[in-house]
Symmetry: C2
Subunit: 118 residues, 2 copies
């Protein structure tokens, strides 16, 4: 059985990781080599491209962090969770819901992200 909350928290920790080398090491450990990412604004395929995409997104929102919102749920190889993006001590500036596909070893094979809110 997967632990959907641990998967979601580990995933968001990668987005919040300021050190690019550490982030890439986390991606190498937790994502498949051919992992895919797609949300309404960004898409990337493969660990290196995903790491660069996250770096770009972080540059656009300096001082902001992603946080888990609500309770992740899971069935089979899928995890769903919602998140918010907020500056330190501030109100969220955005949020969304992501669906994660895991491979047989529990590594992230795909993220399909959607934006929530207004």
């Amino acid at each position: 059985m997967h632990n959907p909350e641990a998967i979601a928290r580990d995933y968001l920790a990668v987005w919040n990781q300021p050190n690019a080398d550490q982030r890439q090491a986390d991606i190498a450990r937790r994502w498949t080599a051919d992992a895919r990412y797609a949300d309404p604004m960004m898409t990337a395929s493969g660990r290196e491209a995903i790491g660069e995409m996250i770096e770009q997104a972080r540059t656009q929102f300096p001082g902001h962090a992603f946080a888990l919102k609500g309770q992740p749920d899971s069935h089979r190889d899928f995890v769903r969770f919602s998140w918010t993006l907020a500056p330190a001590g501030g109100a969220p500036v955005g949020g969304g819901t992501d669906v994660v596909r895991l491979d047989a070893e529990g590594r992230i094979a795909e993220i399909i992200g959607f934006l929530d809110g207004a």
Copy 2:
């Protein structure tokens, strides 16, 4: 560009279709041959199995219908929408959110469903 609301409504119409032959014809037109379906309760692969799965679900909820809830959204080849299940004239007994993956021709290649609520 996809029309996410039309895709969601057509999809739910298949679940609400009482005639098995008509339902299977709709699936043949709108789904890929190797389409996959997975939610917390059911999974199916291929048009025939998906049709049988829907038939079984309909048998469990006689007189109920699926209805679109809120506004579907979409990016790239993905559509997300929420739905409710309710008896005729009654309050919803359940609901969920589905993510649809479309193929290049706009046919449904995959549904990843989650249950919402309580």
